[in-house]
Symmetry: C2
Subunit: 211 residues, 2 copies
């Protein structure tokens, strides 16, 4: 089931379409064409049609797509909207920040546990969660049924932390540490690299000075 070999590029756009569709639907718009959907999600009409065609044929020729239907179908592919609890490891300033960021909760990934190794931080309560020590991770994952790990440690600690997460049964990791971590094949790691994003912007800024 659900085996439709969705290209990675399409997958990331589908999440954007879905947000746009929910907004349309909330404002009472019942149907939308590939052109309109492209417009609001910063895509283009062929891409939208191709992307949606991976899900099946849910559009109506001459008319467009029913927003509600499409929201449901994308939801099915993305794995329903069942919440996936997350533990966050690394209570530095980024970790502290993200632990209070409601965006995770809102998108269905509530943070249910906080972990660090610094004895000055372990025991502290942030946002109603008491920071646990790294050696309690397995227990924490078990108790909270967490399925997602968010890593906000310094680069040097990231590999060890990821190993602990995998050991504790976590198979999906979002890594904010500016380092590439090794994991076994079954584990999916996605990296959010703020420094790289900035440097790319810096590069284009630099380029502009020579046009």
């Amino acid at each position: 089931m659900s085996n439709l070999n969705l290209p990675e590029a399409a997958l990331s756009r589908l999440t954007v379409y879905q947000r746009a569709l929910v907004e349309l639907n909330d404002s009472g718009i019942k149907t939308v064409s590939s052109r309109e959907l492209a417009e609001i999600s910063g895509s283009n009409e062929s891409k939208v049609r191709k992307d949606l065609s991976y899900l099946g044929s849910y559009g109506t020729r001459g008319v467009g797509y029913e927003t509600e239907r499409l929201i449901k179908e994308i939801g099915v592919v993305l794995g329903g909207s069942q919440p996936r609890p997350a533990v966050l490891v690394g209570i530095g300033n980024l970790g502290r920040a993200l632990s209070q960021y409601e965006g995770f909760q809102v998108s269905g990934f509530p943070i249910v546990g906080l972990v660090d190794t610094d004895p000055n931080v372990v025991g502290e309560t942030i946002n109603g969660l008491k920071v646990k020590n790294l050696d309690q991770l397995e227990e924490l994952v078990f108790q909270t049924s967490a399925v997602l790990g968010i890593v906000t440690t310094p680069a040097a600690a990231a590999q060890e932390v990821v190993d602990c997460l995998v050991e504790a049964g976590i198979r999906s990791i979002l890594n904010f540490a500016p380092v590439v971590v090794d994991v076994v094949e079954e584990v999916e790691v996605r990296k959010v690299d703020l420094a790289t994003e900035l440097q790319i912007l810096g590069y284009y800024d630099h380029l502009r000075k020579f046009d």
Copy 2:
């Protein structure tokens, strides 16, 4: 000058190589092969060689690349390490978080101004910076010589804020708001979409249940 038509994909890897090279160099390693560099930066040897070949021929056959030389050459392409001051707009919980994140400062993008529209927030001091109102943005950009804008507003406010940033002369924008913004061609916007990253992880997690 500096016109070497670097593919986007190579560009983002170069920033990763550079971090790895700095680390190698700091631990006294003078030369590195494409294989070794690939290993530590999560790439592969052909990609490394191809990426580095965009810069010129700085390797030595049979030996590898001099770390110090390579750091310098990548630095030249990425636009030197001159700091590029940034203003951050949107003092919600993510904005507050990022305004205290030292990573920006460390990578050469110090946050030199904070902006919001909420009168309850404007005037507040965070990390030594007083939050300004959106209508003071132009003045702030002028006074601080900011060249980069970081947008951490809710989705609904992002387009207006981006328009103000562009109006104020900012040409490079890092957008954390979960919405695609329109800008004129000369402006470079990069989007960091945490909700999408999570959903992609969710998708793979979901898939694993049917293998």
